[in-house]
């Protein structure tokens, strides 16, 4: 599985520019589903048919990652940029980014007059080795993602864009393991989550599911001076109860807990104070659906070194398979 995680996390795919990600994921999921399609915004929708006795269940794992977009090229060939999604200035200094055409850039900022204070985003620039506007290989409107190799150390897995390539991995692995299901499962690899869960919104409008389950990362409270949060790495799949954008369907949360307990899958309950997921869009699309989220606990979200625990990933896959294998009574 680490090979798949490496392949997906190291690939390029900022929000709105997920074509390459879709091409990578498609062959991974295609053998395990009955139908596959791509909608107008670029969501990849893989359908596994049930036996007709169950519900219409939509899963959503987003393919996109945070990134940057060039807003100006200086006459010396440096790039000013704006954010795509939640990019924090303090995670940028000395980092590297990659453009769709393969160009790599180093990120730095204007001179710091006070080293205790970091500049805002508009004082950062990217150096791609150009010396003028004319010889600069990228231009205004070009998007870049971060660059960082995947590493596995014990059970800890670190990469850029674990958010949410690890959710994509959970979806793929669960569909591999899912022998049979009463439900029609619409496994959606969504676009543009990081800029406001835009892809899941339209895919859910098209699918009109009874149940929506997002597969995404969540924050943790187990690092020095963290904001108090009862989720830790290595303690199991997180069953979302609430985040800043959604209150999970109470019946669905109950089903998730019950399946985890029956199958001895470690789990923790998640209340996330900031942020939300595709489940928020699915919940209120069309006439509404019962929505929830299986979260993979993740340290350092929206930094180039997002870190998860392999045991939590396993637990998330197993929990999803248990939920999908059995009737969902809401």
């Amino acid at each position: 599985m680490n090979e798949l995680i490496k392949k997906l996390t190291e690939a390029y795919g900022p929000s709105g520019f997920e074509d390459g990600m879709r091409d990578l994921i498609r062959p991974e999921i295609e053998p395990y589903v009955d139908e596959i399609s791509v909608d107008a915004m670029g969501n990849l929708i893989a359908v596994k048919k049930g036996d007709g006795s169950g519900l219409k269940v939509m899963l959503a794992a987003h393919m996109d990652e945070i990134g940057v977009m060039v807003s100006h090229v200086t006459k010396e060939g440096f790039l000013r940029f704006t954010n795509i999604g939640g990019v924090y200035p303090h995670t940028l200094m000395g980092g590297r980014v990659q453009f769709a055409n393969g160009t790599i850039g180093v990120v730095h900022s204007d001179r710091l007059t006070d080293r205790g204070k970091i500049h805002p985003l508009n004082k950062f620039f990217i150096d791609v080795g150009a010396t003028s506007r004319e010889d600069c290989p990228v231009g205004v409107g070009d998007a870049a993602g971060f660059v960082r190799p995947f590493i596995a150390q014990g059970s800890r897995l670190t990469a850029k864009s674990m958010d949410d390539r690890i959710g994509c991995v959970v979806a793929i692995e669960a569909m591999k393991k899912l022998a049979s299901t009463p439900h029609d499962v619409y496994c959606v690899f969504s676009v543009q989550e990081e800029v406001g869960t835009r892809g899941a919104m339209v895919s859910a409008n098209g699918i009109s599911p009874d149940v929506g389950i997002a597969l995404d990362v969540t924050g943790v409270g187990d690092v020095p001076e963290a904001r108090p949060m009862d989720v830790s790495l290595g303690k199991g799949a997180a069953i979302k109860v609430k985040d800043a954008g959604m209150i999970a369907h109470v019946g669905l949360v109950k089903v998730m807990k019950q399946r985890a307990e029956e199958a001895n899958i470690p789990y923790q309950l998640e209340v996330l104070e900031g942020g939300s997921t595709d489940a928020r869009s699915i919940q209120i699309s069309n006439a509404g659906s019962a929505a929830g989220c299986i979260s993979i606990p993740c340290r350092y979200v929206h930094s180039p070194s997002e870190t998860v625990d392999a045991r939590d990933v396993e637990a998330s896959i197993n929990l999803l398979v248990e939920i999908l294998s059995k009737p969902i009574a809401l």
């Binding site: 596959i36 107008a40 915004m41 969501n43 205004v140 098209g206």
Partner: protein
């Protein structure tokens, strides 16, 4: 003199009260389209049937409304309290003439003359709730007899042309409306073209949220006027867009990442037909594109805009060559659009 731009910008259509502009546009397009209707919100929706050469269905949108003011109360001295309809910089309001209500009564946003300002007042911005519209009424009753609470007030700027430059109010977005009118007055396209002249963009894309539901187009193009900030600066920074450098193509703003296939098709078409264009600096701002893109199960969408200086103030400025090139680029894009540009091969 471009009569179309003159008539459209001098007409009044503050968000939620777009009837005058809608009637004007209806009369301009009626004999060039096969069907038209007005929906519940007040959007004008027209269908220009295609030649049958392509089975695509394409939507082109331009919002009709402009930013303005709304009368909310009367003062005892006969002046009118007001709120903004759409976004304003308060500094752009003081001392400006306005036309109030359906009878277009002349008024002015009153300002204390500089002679009577204390030194400290000269350096501070007057807030909107401290401003009043003066219509020359002698007291509250006189004001009440002329103006109703809820009446809109709009800027008064006569359309003028100076060389390649046009000055007027509400180029945001009558420039887009004028371009769309011209597209409809042209020969039929290979496919059915739906034109939507939408209401209430300036207060949150409210007309656009509903306009595409019944149409379900394969692609959508949004015609806009985007603010140009291209005054000289001492730093090496980009103007977001500049006057005279051609149609501005959106890639990303706060509300939308434009469909990359359409963006690339538009820029390639511009290059192939020698039409100048500029990429609008990505970042803030928002247009109807975000509402239309996310209608139903999604619509590939992109935005082409006429750069305009001094948006959301009484007097805007556009370059007429930019305007003509927006019309030319949009028409060329439509005439060359094929299904393989927008349809996904599963």
């Amino acid at each position: 003199m471009n009569e179309l731009l003159k008539n459209l910008t001098e007409a009044v259509g503050v968000s939620g009260d777009e009837k005058e502009v809608r009637l004007l546009i209806r009369d301009l397009i009626a004999k060039h389209v096969d069907e038209w209707h007005v929906d519940t919100m007040g959007n004008l929706i027209a269908l220009k049937k295609g030649t049958g050469a392509s089975d695509l269905c394409v939507l082109v949108d331009a919002h009709m409304d402009e930013v303005g003011l709304m009368v909310v109360d009367y003062d005892s001295n006969g002046t009118l309290k007001f709120e903004g309809v759409g976004g304003f910089d308060n500094r752009a309001l003081l001392g400006k003439p306005v036309q109030v209500g359906p009878k277009k009564l002349a008024g002015v946003i009153g300002a204390r003359p500089i002679h009577l300002l204390k030194a400290s007042q000269r350096n501070s911005v007057v807030k909107m709730d401290a401003m009043r519209i003066d219509i020359g009424a002698k007291d509250k009753d006189a004001a009440k007899s002329k103006v109703k609470v809820g009446d809109r007030a709009a800027f008064v700027t006569e359309y003028e042309e100076i060389g390649p430059t046009a000055i007027g109010k509400a180029f945001d977005n009558r420039a887009g409306c004028a371009a769309l009118v011209e597209l409809l007055q042209a020969e039929p396209y290979p496919f059915d073209l739906y034109a939507t002249f939408t209401v209430q963009e300036e207060v949150g894309l409210r007309g656009a949220e509903v306009v595409a539901y019944g149409i379900k187009p394969d692609a959508a193009f949004i015609l806009e006027s985007t603010p140009a900030y291209d005054m000289p600066t001492k730093d090496d920074v980009s103007p977001n867009v500049a006057l005279g450098k051609g149609p501005s193509i959106y890639v990303m703003d706060r509300g939308t990442i434009q469909d990359p296939r359409l963006v690339s098709f538009i820029t390639k078409t511009a290059v192939a037909h020698n039409i100048p264009f500029q990429i609008r600096q990505p970042g803030g701002g928002g247009t109807n594109t975000s509402a239309i893109q996310r209608t139903g199960s999604g619509i590939p969408a992109a935005t082409i805009a006429v750069p305009g200086r001094y948006a959301h103030t009484p007097a805007m400025m556009i370059n007429l060559d930019d305007y003509a090139n927006v019309v030319k680029l949009a028409e060329t894009v439509l005439r060359n659009l094929t299904p393989d540009t927008v349809k996904r091969n599963a």
